[in-house]
Amino acid sequence: MMEVQLISFGALTDITGSGVLGFAIPRPAISVAELMSLLFVRYPALEGKTFRIAVNERFVDEKFTIGLGDNVALMPPFSGG
């Protein structure tokens, strides 16, 4: 099973669940843009939500390549004070 380790933050855990989840990817290396498309298929409620993707605790852009076993975080902004 080709997977990345997915973790959500903030209210996104209501959509994906909390904790670290294995998320299947079709090839050993995919772009962030492709992962987003797969995420929206699996979790349609994510589409339109505001969040950044971080891979192995580094914020990345859509062109970044994610590899097998990478930690992928979905990070929304928080508002409260």
Binding site: T50, R52, A54, E57, R58, F59, P77, F78, G80, G81
Partner: protein, 267 residues
Amino acid sequence: MEMEPDFLDRYQRQLSLCEVGLDGQRALRAALVMVVGLGGLGCPVVQYLAAAGVGNFVLVDADRVSLSNLHRQILYNQKDVGRFKVEAAQEWIQKQNAQIKVSVYTEMLSAKNATAFLALADIVVDCTDNFAARYLINDACALANKPWVYGSIAKFEGQVAVFNALMKGAEGENQDMMASEVSEDSFIRSLNYRDVFSKPPGEGEIQNCAEAGVLGALAGIIGSFQAMEVLKWILGLQGLLVNQMLTYNAIDQSIVKFQLDNNSDRK
């Protein structure tokens, strides 16, 4: 700036730190910290910075204390309900130390007043509770070349970062200094809030504390993190949260620091 007459006794427990000492205490006394928002985050920020000897504050908040604030805005008590938050906070600071200078503004930060307010400050602390204010602080600090300490909370989680701080260039170590000590040519600014989230979310997408709920201790924790970053900045200590964002989860007591690159999602 003159030190308080009792400062050797008052600050003895922190003067003994080699990272503070007399020079550090003088730097704290001379510093001017602007705190925007005197709510859940603003209260611990003001309390710990005043206690540490920050000599000058500018406090900005248009709100009055309400009963529902008291569970997490621990600077206030029942007698303060109905008062302007900045005035209650000013009174608290003056009781703590009558030598601290506090200016208060009972208005919201806006595009009209931001430039004037920021010109007064060495560093700004974002203790607001809405995105419009945070982006305003970001953009105004970028224009005014001021560093600012971001903090935000949501249910049991929080985020903290130091944005737009002056740092040594690529060759040197990351070490931030008070702006008066540096020349711009060898220094660069660290990344800012728009390098993380380039645009605010849609109306109603992200809940605030009134909508989602929160325990006061979370505001205490994240506000204390912010106060600590301000102290580190004033004292010139290592480890400032620049080009990174600290995230905290109170349920499993975990902290994860995310690194920021220039690969922002800015469009």
